[in-house]
């Protein structure tokens, strides 16, 4: 146990810890930014890296709901799908430029989040199941809408030109925005309130935290980014249909990648996504048929042997590092 420090000494120790934390965050952010910046320039596999950024963003947003707030939305793909269709409809039917349509996608995600807000008072399992059902309803409602709006079973084509490099950089911007927001959240008062509500909502209530409002803010942040992702991906692939936009596998991968890295930290979802996407690519190339099986088996193994994820397990082993690791 370190010797007891005086008030002034504690203050400077705290400042030093903060410096390490933010330096680490800056370094990681810098490496990530430069790496992805350079991918199209060096003509590395754009598709692989695009989706890597997408999963990092999705897993990070899911972390806000699950790690910071304590909710497991198994219908997370609903936000993604709504974002994808919003961009597609605005671009195709109303002629919006994509960059103008994207904020509307984000807004659509937030609106959907508001619609789903009454479910926030449900406990773990009930919430997870209802979330799944609500995503199912979204998918069915959209696929049953008139064909001229949502394209029926053929889906919507956004336009004649897909722009992989432009959409790649926009995805990067979205990812960095997400990571920045989450970094802010993890140190902010809202973040502390969220975690208190996660740990014991009633006690937090009695300590003066407006539980309903705090939960809602966390939830809306978590809803915003997958919607943006859906919109950018729609631009990248140039086509949107209900099967792929509301694919339950999207939620599955998001959950698994986030859990693999470790919920509750900023770096967890990044690490988890990088490791799992890389593994997925490796295995998919060798054994394309076993892909799904390995995903399922990996989930089971993760829950059994690494329930706190990679970063979470490291922090459990070295708890003193918690203050320094974003």
């Amino acid at each position: 146990m370190p010797p007891e420090l005086s008030g002034a000494a504690r203050s400077s120790e705290r400042a030093a810890a903060d410096r390490i934390y933010y330096t680490l965050a800056a370094v990681i952010g810098g490496i990530v930014s430069i790496y992805f910046l350079v991918v199209p320039v060096l003509d590395l596999n754009i598709a692989f890296h695009f989706y890597l950024m997408l999963w990092i963003t999705m897993a990070s947003a899911f972390n806000v709901a699950a790690g910071f707030s304590g909710y497991m939305p198994f219908g997370f793909v609903a936000f993604y799908g709504v974002g994808a269709f919003t961009t597609a409809i605005l671009v195709k039917s109303l002629g919006f430029p994509v960059l103008l349509a994207l904020p509307f996608s984000g807004a659509a995600g937030v609106i959907l989040g508001l619609l789903f807000a009454p479910t926030l008072r449900l406990s773990g399992i009930y919430f997870a199941i209802v979330s799944l059902a609500l995503a199912g309803i979204c998918r069915l409602v959209i696929s049953n809408m008139p064909e001229n709006i949502t394209g029926g079973s053929f889906g919507l084509q956004l336009g004649s030109r897909a722009e992989p490099v432009h959409s790649f950089y926009v995805m990067m911007a979205v990812m960095l925005l997400a990571l920045g927001v989450i970094l802010w959240l993890s140190r902010s008062r809202l973040g502390k309130a969220l975690r208190a509500v996660r740990d014991d909502a009633e006690a937090a209530d009695m300590m003066g935290v407006n539980v309903t409002r705090v939960r809602l803010y966390g939830w809306l942040i978590a809803a915003f980014f997958p919607a943006l992702c859906g919109g950018v991906e729609a631009w990248y692939t140039n086509v949107v249909d209900t099967e792929t936009a509301f694919n339950t596998l999207t939620t599955a991968k998001t959950v698994i990648y986030a859990v693999a890295g470790g919920l509750g930290t900023v770096t967890g979802p990044i690490v988890g996504s990088v490791v799992m996407v890389w593994l997925d690519e490796l295995i998919w190339r060798q054994f394309p048929l076993l892909n799904l099986l390995i995903l399922g088996a990996a989930t089971v193994l993760l829950v059994l042997f690494l329930p706190r994820g990679i970063v979470g397990t490291v922090l459990r082993w070295r708890p003193e590092w918690r203050r320094y690791v974003p």
Binding site: L122, S123, A128, L132, I137, V255, L293, G296, V300
Partner: protein, 293 residues
């Protein structure tokens, strides 16, 4: 119109019976183990595929697949329990962790079935003689009537087991108070393994019945049955087998009658809608023992 409605009612009872069995086994699992079995639908479809494989390769009539499925899935469930579940009890949030794990199991199982049977829809080309029978003014396929008969037998047997035999009562006691049952000296691990195995067996057998009642199935049908299972379990109250029985029948009736008045594509929305409404308004279900949180 009356014929359609009558059809809806009869089919509703038959389909509802199947949903009831799915719900009863799922709620048993949750009640005893506090595990939300996301892979339950895959267990059921696994049973359907087993019947299909036995029929296509060995010419075994589906009725004979029933005991095979029961034994096979009982053994699988027993093994799966010991392999997967004991570690979970020590984690911070066993309920969510088990949910996640069964999520993984469901993906893996669907993948296995996909690998073996491919993605095409399958059905069993078995016909009873006569192929249909007259029930009042309407015709019902014999396969469905037979399936319904088996459903009734199974449901009765399960209820009898739970309420009149010692191991059954032990299971119900565990549902009511998992802590107390340990103090009383019951080997909770063995009882839990038994519950898992029993629930798996019922699921597998239900799968064979699904093959008789529904026109076709594929490896991804499991997800639909899992959702139906959740709906029935929540409607009937988590951990309440009798509640699940009633809820299953009610839900089957609601679904089939809805298809009389609404387009087919809307039917799942009704199901999801009922689930959401019940959870938000009355989470304890129609007959719930335990309210949430």
């Amino acid at each position: 119109m009356e014929i359609l409605v009558l059809n809806g009612i009869v089919n509703g009872l038959i389909v509802g019976g199947i949903y009831a069995l799915i719900g009863m086994s799922l709620t048993l699992l949750y009640g005893v183990l506090r595990v939300v079995n996301f892979a339950h639908g895959e267990f059921v479809i696994g049973g359907s595929f087993l019947a299909y494989a036995l029929f296509s390769n060995l010419g075994l009539a589906p009725l004979y697949s029933l005991p095979v499925a029961a034994l096979a899935f009982f053994a699988l469930g027993w093994g799966a329990y010991y392999l997967l579940l004991p570690r979970l009890q020590n984690s911070d949030d066993p309920e969510i962790m088990s949910f996640l794990m069964m999520y993984g199991v469901s993906i893996a199982l669907a993948a296995v079935m996909l690998l073996i049977f491919e993605a095409d829809s399958r059905s069993i080309d078995y016909s009873f003689t006569p192929i249909a029978m007259k029930v009042g003014p309407i015709y019902v396929s014999t396969a469905r009537i037979v399936a319904f008969g088996i459903v009734v037998l199974l449901a009765a047997a399960l209820t009898g087991f739970l309420f009149r035999t010692l191991p059954g009562k032990a299971l119900r006691a565990t549902i009511m108070n998992p802590e107390a049952i340990k103090i009383v000296g019951v080997d909770v691990v063995k009882l839990s393994a038994f519950a898992f195995a029993l629930a798996s067996a019922i699921a597998g057998v239900t799968g064979v019945l699904v093959a008789l009642v529904f026109p076709a199935f594929n490896p991804f049908s499991g997800a639909e049955y899992s959702i139906i299972g959740f709906i029935v379990v929540v409607l009937g109250g988590l951990g309440n087998p009798v509640g699940a029985l009633l809820a299953g029948i009610l839900y089957g009736l609601a679904e089939q009658l809805a298809t009389v008045f609404l387009p087919q594509a809307m039917a799942p929305i009704i199901g999801f809608g009922i689930l959401v409404a019940v959870i938000l308004i009355r989470p304890a279900g129609l007959m719930g023992w335990r309210a949430q949180r």
